[in-house]
């Protein structure tokens, strides 16, 4: 898991750490029952105040992705991978919407934007197959 924080990103440092853990859990790098690094270790890796990591761990716990166990650390929950995938889908869909809006503002025709999106999907055939295996994109989960 790459815990990197960039203070020039609009996302706050603790949200960036949440994002990195969600990525690692969604991709299977961190499986259910896996132990997260300690707050101190994670802070040293991300080069941030330990309070920032503690906040990220709290946010992840509120999402249901991880749980703290007294005395032994913070672990990915049984349902963690599913929640992480759902959160990642939400975030990527939001990013796609922003990109589409920007493209339209820049003067592209809506047909062009649709066509480019379709082409990207076709190019990434492997990605769509992978998605089909994990239950397909959730229309409901992605919209808010």
């Amino acid at each position: 898991m790459r815990l990197r924080v960039d203070t020039d990103r609009a996302l706050s440092p603790s949200q960036q750490i949440v994002e990195a853990v969600l990525d690692a859990v969604a991709s299977g790098e961190l499986r259910a029952e896996a132990r997260l690094p300690s707050v101190r270790e994670a802070a040293a890796a991300a080069l941030v105040n330990p309070n920032t990591v503690a906040r990220a761990w709290r946010d992840l716990e509120a999402l249901g992705v991880v749980e703290g166990r007294a005395g032994s650390g913070v672990f990915v929950t049984e349902g963690g991978p599913e929640v992480a995938r759902r959160e990642r889908r939400k975030a990527t869909l939001a990013a796609l919407r922003v990109a589409a809006e920007e493209a339209l503002r820049a003067g592209h025709a809506s047909e062009t934007v649709l066509e480019e999106t379709r082409r990207a999907i076709e190019r990434d055939g492997e990605g769509t197959r992978r998605e089909a295996k994990t239950g397909g994109p959730e229309g409901k989960g992605g919209r808010r």
Binding site: V5, T7, D8, R9, A10, S12, P13, R40, A43, A44, L47, V48, N49, P50, N51, T52, A54
Partner: protein, 244 residues
């Protein structure tokens, strides 16, 4: 967060001759938190830190650090406070190892294993004299020896100035590991807004001889702007306000 305050400054004034550089300065640092001190060049950040460390005597006002008066009870405070000045102030002819041995003899709480581990992990040469070290090496040596006595209060005066990118990252890592949330009270003066954005629980701006603003980091960086940008905006706001 705890409501306890480890450092409390009230109505502090300091002057170089007739030139008053600090005037009516109030500051309270909550126990176990990290505060980043920003200020324009010449804002007297170093003077404030030296006053807190008991190296200067206030012209007026009171300073309490761990319940002690730094200027009057410097000996007692020394054992519990760590100060890394912006330019190494240890004896230039000493090696890091000699400096460690010297401090061990003077600090009842000196932890030799910790100091050696810090020195090794930072790659500080044990047998090189401080005067023969690069800026990065000297800063690491000072930091390692300062942390060796496990200070409850840590004052860092621009530890990131004039460092190459690798030394910068190593020292930042060392400072992050030195932040003991809830127990160690830390004040870091810096011009580096990336460092400020990473380290601070609170951000303070020194301008016009007093703490013109002090806010929790979350408050300094609200809205959608990246944290570093938000800090720059706040800093510019305060400094411009003072100059007009």
């Amino acid at each position: 967060m705890s409501d306890l305050v480890t450092v409390e400054v009230k109505g502090l004034a300091y002057a170089f001759g007739r030139h008053r550089v600090l005037d009516g300065l109030d500051l309270a640092l909550p126990t176990g938190s990290t505060t980043v001190l920003l200020g324009a060049n010449g804002a007297s950040k170093t003077t404030l830190l030296r006053l807190l460390a008991g190296l200067l005597k206030p012209a007026a006002g009171t300073i309490s650090v761990l319940g002690l008066d730094p200027a009057r009870q410097r000996d007692r405070l020394c054992a519990r406070l760590g100060f890394v000045p912006d330019t190494p102030d240890a004896w230039p002819w000493m090696t890091t190892e000699e400096l460690g041995r010297f401090l061990a003899a003077h600090h009842p709480r000196w932890d030799d294993a910790l100091a050696t581990e810090l020195r090794t992990s930072l790659g500080v040469p044990a047998n090189r004299r401080l005067r023969d070290m690069s800026r990065g090496e000297a800063t690491k040596a000072m930091l390692a020896t300062t942390l060796g006595h496990a200070p409850e209060v840590l004052l860092l005066d621009e530890p990131f100035g004039g460092l190459d990118p690798i030394a910068h990252e190593e020292i930042l890592g060392c400072v992050v590991r030195a932040l003991e949330v809830g127990t160690r009270t830390v004040l870091v003066s810096t011009h580096d807004l990336d460092v400020a954005a990473r380290l601070g629980d609170h951000v303070a701006v020194l301008a016009g001889g007093c703490i013109a603003r002090i806010v929790p980091m979350e408050e300094a960086a609200t809205g959608t702007a990246p944290r570093r940008e938000a800090l720059k905006g706040m800093f510019a706001d305060v400094v411009r306000g003072e100059r007009t």
